[in-house]
Amino acid sequence: MKTSNPLWRDRLIGKMPEALARELDIFEAEVNLRKMGKLDERVFMETRLRRGAYGQRYDNGERHDGKKVQKMAYPRPELTKGPNTLWDAPGMQRIKIPGGGLNAAQLETLADLAEEYSDGIAHITTRQDVQLHYVHIEDTPTIMRRLAAVNITTREACGNSVRNVTTCPYAGVCQDEVFDVTPYTKALSRFLLGHPDTQNFGRKFKPALSGCSQHACALVNLHDLGLIATTRTENGVEKRGFAVYVGGGLGAVPYQAKLLDPFVPLEEILPLAQAISRVFARLGEKKNRNRARMKFLVQDLGIEKFRELVLEERKALEPDPRWTDYIKGAELDREEPLRPAGKLSERGSPEFQQWFKTNVRPQKQEGYVVATVTLPLGDITSRQLRALADIARRFTKETVRTTVEQNFVIRWVSESDLPELYEALRVAGLGAPGSGTIVDIVSCPGTDTCKLGISSSRGLAAELRKRLAEKSFQMDEAVKNLHIKISGCFNSCGQHHLADLGFYGVSRKMAGLAVPHFQVVLGGEWEHNAGSYGLPVAAVPSKNIPQVVTRLTERYVADRQNGESFKDFIKRIGKAEIKRLLEDLTRPPVDQRDRSFFSDWGDPREYTLDDMGVGECAGEVISSSDFDLAAAERQLFEAQVALENGEIEKAGRTAYQSMLSAAKALVKTEFESVPDDPDRIVSEFRKRFYDTQKFFDPYVGGKFAQYLFSAHEKAKQPYTEDSARFLIDEAQLFIDASHNYSNRAESLIAG
């Protein structure tokens, strides 16, 4: 769309490695070929995804405008950039930032690109990437060239590839890390990028490195490949290495990574990563996208067999000098301070003190600190990025990193410079306190821009942030330190499973209308690299979620025993009590004339206006399937309580029963007298809803129905704690999908 695009290529010749320039020329040629209709849309889709050029909401050319689904009059409706994805519709450009590390020139380039090609905002993601939204596909080759000129790549930022390698942003300066993992992040990232053994995956592959096991900073347990720094003494000499974990992942059903090897020497991490990649490429699922992440391969094979295969593959690898060269090269690249170490000599203003308390963390190097720049919802403007670049140059040797909490950290700040640094940040609108506290809410893009979003995660996050910030001064310390994480759907990009208070978007019907809801997920653990995952407790209308936060936090403050954590508090009082506490909030308001209840936060469009007949609203027509689905939810809740009580077999059986109940609810809409026989329910469901694809989700197809089929197949097997837990998650998703189907079906009838 920019008329200057052809000029940038010439301007940047010689500013990037020749091979990279050639790659980008090829990508640009592919863009032009697709524009001329000479490249298949599916091939082009995977090509652009591997370059980080992603789709965005409404790119199929349709948008519900609050009254009806509106066809958007794009000038070239016949031209696509992928199946059902229109060429002219804006998309998202993801930019990989290994370990989150950025220098001043890179920050300035991001600022320019956000301003010229996006909407003036760069968005920091939960995996330390940067995203630009509303980008035109024809601008992407120029964006990539301008990034390449400052040594940033978008290659393999999306698609079935090795994604950004994430790392603890405090690596190298953390007081209790085992050692600095930064060099190994760089080496691993460089080695796996474009490696032939990583080009044939069935799904994405996410690596992470952490300098310790006790903190949350790198969230190793939720990654396909996770490395935690450790040491071992051999012949009286301490040797550095990594504990290697595999098969973690969030997504719809979260899996904790399994320990592959408690100690892998530094020189072995690249060949081991290569061997793991080869096993995943060879044996990972390719056809069924919903079972293609490595977590399923590790689960299906078992960690022992997976380990055996990896070790076999490792033995078969031809030696590669890069295994050690990349490591040695990266180890030489060490950060240093710009200014001498110092001590803070003044107390400063109350605002400074507040910021200092939450946003400053001492480094292991005496006299230096890490200062966190708290970004609201991970958003930063172009001018703020330039200000951050100036600050990085003025106070440090440009040692800035992004974090998985969607913030920036400035490392190697001399403590005596803090008042000046704070003032510079404040002037730039970057001096907000509250880093790592309850106001520092993490959120995925949700319905704002994501094609998969169900509810407005950013809208909710903004609202909660506003309300909590107003109360933060009088907030109890125990509440201040809680984490809130929000995803717009079950796919967990907002990492809701790890939060004290997690929410993910679902829709439910109330009084005949679709209403945006969030599932409340409690009991997750952020510390210990995402030590445990929470479970859903109740689906609550979006507009009632602030009250959920208030009630739960107030109850925590009132009933907390001996400094117990929120997770332990939730476990102690139990899900039944929490459900009772939130029960009334799950219901629609008595006075339904206030239509804002039927729209989402920050989005005044009524959630599905096709359903909004006044008569329906007033008449409270509840179909029998709504009642049956509510019964299925009750059964699922019983399963959760059973799991909480350690009744594993009961938990698994009841979760399975809840799926059958939901399936039966749908079957009954077509076959009223379906017998109460599991085989018959499942076969009727398959015939009527799966084979016909009526139950298919627009984006994940038959994934949720397959959960039912799998649960039915395994119904006679005993349940383990893991399998019961997975089944509860799957049952929740199946019931959510049943609600969605029911809403869609009624829309069609009404429309």
């Binding site: 769309m1 920019k2 008329t3 200057s4 000029l7 940038w8 301007r11 909401r57 409404y58 948008r63 405008d65 609050g66 009254k67 509106q70 958007m72 009059a73 794009y74 000038p75 002219d88 519709a89 804006p90 300035e108 600022a111 320019d112 301003e115 010229e116 909407d119 003036g120 905002i121 939204h133 509303y134 035109h136 609201p376 919802l377 958003d379 930063i380 403007t381 001018r383 703020q384 330039r386 609108g429 907000a432 704002d448 821009t449 809208g459 903004a462 942030r465 506003k466 920050g602 989005d603 005044p604 469009r605």
Partner: protein
């Protein structure tokens, strides 16, 4: 020099704090109505970002917003698609689009007359560093175009110029008219 991607920001009266929240509904309404020459696609709400882009209605050819960059609220038109014709045509196109958007705000009862052009201050800038780097050379090349355009816009009235000095920011100039103009007067001047 060829100017493309011209942006125009009309600064608002700032006698009282303005809540941008009602704009979200207004912009969704614009998309419903699609009563513009340009295709409007979506609403981006950045009210949570200090001195940020405010609330934007994203379009295919252009974005409209109430922008708070530099902590100065203004109605901004951000032209993304190329415009045929001369540089005068492009300056005129962007300015008319911004003025018409401002007129809509001024007359929208939901906005309670809060979004009013201050009558004097207009920022004109070019959202393309390749075509218009923020240098003295660009300023020299642009000045005759600007003089010609402002003579028409202000009907020969006096004004002062303040060019953007930070070289990393977009090339642009804030124009302050010596006398107050209404939106309709400026539209009339450009139509003549």
């Amino acid at each position: 020099m060829e100017l493309q991607h011209v942006n125009v920001k009309l600064f608002l009266e700032n006698s009282r704090p303005i809540d941008l929240e009602p704009l979200v509904q207004v912009f969704h309404g614009w998309i419903q109505a699609q009563g513009w020459d340009e295709l409007l696609l979506d609403v981006a709400d950045y009210r949570h970002v200090p001195a940020g882009p405010g609330v934007i209605v994203i379009g295919l050819e252009a974005n409209y917003s109430v922008d708070n960059t530099g902590n100065r609220l203004g109605v901004r038109y951000n032209r993304k698609a190329a415009v045929e014709g001369s540089n005068q045509d492009r300056l005129k196109q962007a300015t008319i689009a911004a003025l018409k958007a401002c007129r809509r705000f001024e007359s929208d009862p939901r906005l309670d007359s809060k979004f009013r052009f201050n009558g004097r201050d207009i920022e004109i800038f070019v959202n393309d560093r390749m075509l218009a780097p923020n240098t003295s050379a660009t300023r020299e090349a642009f000045q005759p175009e600007l003089t010609e355009f402002l003579a028409k816009l202000f009907a020969g009235g006096e004004y002062s110029l303040s060019f953007e000095e930070e070289p990393r920011n977009l090339f642009g100039v804030t124009v302050t008219s010596a006398r107050v103009f209404s939106v309709d007067e400026l539209l009339k001047n450009l139509a003549s």
